[in-house]
Amino acid sequence: MTIIVERVSHRFDSLDVLADISFEVGDNEIFAVVGPSGCGKSTLLSIIGGLIEPSAGAVRVGGVSPDALNPITFVFQDFALLPWRSVATNVQLPLEHRDLPRAEMQALVNDALRRTGLVDFAEAYPKQLSGGMRQRVGIARALAVKPSILLLDEPLSALDGQTREILMEDLSQLLASTRVSAVYVTHNLDEALRLADRIAVFSRRPGRLREILEVPIPRSERMTPGAAADLAALHERLWSLIRTEAIDAEREVGHV
């Protein structure tokens, strides 16, 4: 599954948000996007997912799996769960309008719940769950439709530090065991370094692609002591690219 972003620019009324963004995400690749607040990361994700029409440029995808029920699928920052539905019926929601036999739909829901460790919570309602468990439901719902591309919009940013750490590990394993390409938008450089194969660094608004860094350590080895020094160096490099922009963006927001 390939995603090609070609010269995408976007503006909201008179506000330029994205300027001339181009990159390509390969098959089974996890591509992170980092940058200061307001640089258009989430807008770009919405453009890739077809929820916003870009002012200029285009996004093309290729090699969609014929099994994919919803080839391009989002995982949302605020989980976007329906509070009046149970965990199982939330996961079932994107399957209900598809022409699937009841048994197959149930099997897809059960499989997604099993993979995300939610089997015992199938009948619970979102208000009964912690933030981490709610995001698991969001991830289960995304997996249920067998996506070819996952678009993750700061999926861990609403969680506390410990929950984030646990979910990051689980997410890393899920992405490794699933044949899927992903675009992962985050503020958190550690998340990007843990999960991504390549990391795109955006400038402040209007977001421009400053640089794409490759993480040359296999994803499975990033938690080993041997990888720590290399990851720290990459972190330093990423931070040096973002620091000034982030400070400027913060001051800009302060003046709005």
Binding site: F74, A80, L82, P83, P94, Y125
Partner: protein, 279 residues
């Protein structure tokens, strides 16, 4: 409490130079309102008892304020004769039909205003212009159009119910979290499924609040309409009793209206408990 006397405490040396220690005074008392279950019942009982005493001891004339016992006797007599039942049936029919018509139209317009731009533009202008008009003022006009019979009274109630339902539905739809709709769109849910599975359930708390308000308005309007142009119904009965100085019967009618209101509130409370259990 510490196991060591102060002088033997491992910390005592460092405390020697400290000033004298005092416990922190609790300042968090009050402002936590906990209702008492017996409060309402006791207040009700005291008011009724005082009222009855005022009547029995001759403090007030039974013509101006009949005692609770006299009202109860009037209620029993009216029920036994079947007269009260006829008035209640007439009012209940008018409220039921008028509320159902007004609510259905209000739901349809409110939903349309929440979903489509043109409907919103038209709806906001029309609702803003007509909502402030006291609907009972339109009854003479409605009688001219629809006659003195049931349709004019039902139309008054329907009009009165229509506007708050429209506003509550529109507000509810407008307040549906955008992220839920984007989530549904990202899964390619069809428009009708998004309305049915996301918009309507998310707007339901606001819609049910609108029902609560519109039910009170329907009760108010049925009494007013019946006082103006009816010979049956609780409003007509109360007016007639007042004209004949039968204050015990007048207050019996008021008690019935109060029970009516309580029943409607309970019904809506039941609906909320069933439909909004997820909150």
């Amino acid at each position: 409490m510490s196991e060591w006397p102060m002088s033997e405490s491992p910390m005592s040396e460092s405390r020697i130079s400290q000033p004298r220690l005092a416990p922190v005074r609790f300042r968090g008392r009050g402002f936590v309102v906990t209702p008492r279950w017996y409060g309402g019942l006791a207040a009700f009982f005291i008011i009724i008892a005082l009222w009855q005493a005022a009547g029995s001891l001759g403090w007030v004339s039974p013509l101006f304020l009949p005692s609770p016992l006299a009202i109860l006797q009037a209620l029993i007599a009216l029920t036994a004769s079947g007269e009260l039942g006829q008035h209640i049936a007439a009012s209940a029919m008018r409220i039921g039909v008028g509320w159902a018509l007004g609510t259905s139209a209000g739901l349809a317009l409110g939903l349309s205003m929440g979903l489509w731009g043109l409907a919103r533009s038209i709806g906001i202008s029309v609702v803003s212009a007509l909502f402030p008009i006291p609907k009972i003022a339109l009854l003479p006009l409605l009688i001219l159009w629809l006659g003195i019979g049931e349709p004019s009274k039902i139309a008054t109630i329907a009009l009165g119910v229509f506007f708050p339902t429209t506003i509550a539905t529109y507000s509810g739809v407008d307040a549906v979290p955008r992220t839920l709709i984007r989530m549904a769109q990202s899964f390619d849910l069809p428009f009708s499924a998004i309305v049915r599975k996301i918009v309507v359930p998310a707007a339901l708390p606001s819609i049910l609040s609108g029902f609560r308000i519109s039910a009170s308005i329907a009760l108010l309007l049925v009494v007013s309409a019946e006082m103006i142009g009816a010979d049956r119904g609780i409003g007509a009965f109360v007016l007639q009793a007042g004209n004949l100085m039968q204050t015990d019967q007048l207050l019996a009618g008021v008690v019935v209206l109060s029970i009516f209101g309580l029943i409607v509130a309970r019904l809506i409370g039941f609906l909320e408990a069933r439909l909004l259990a997820w909150r």
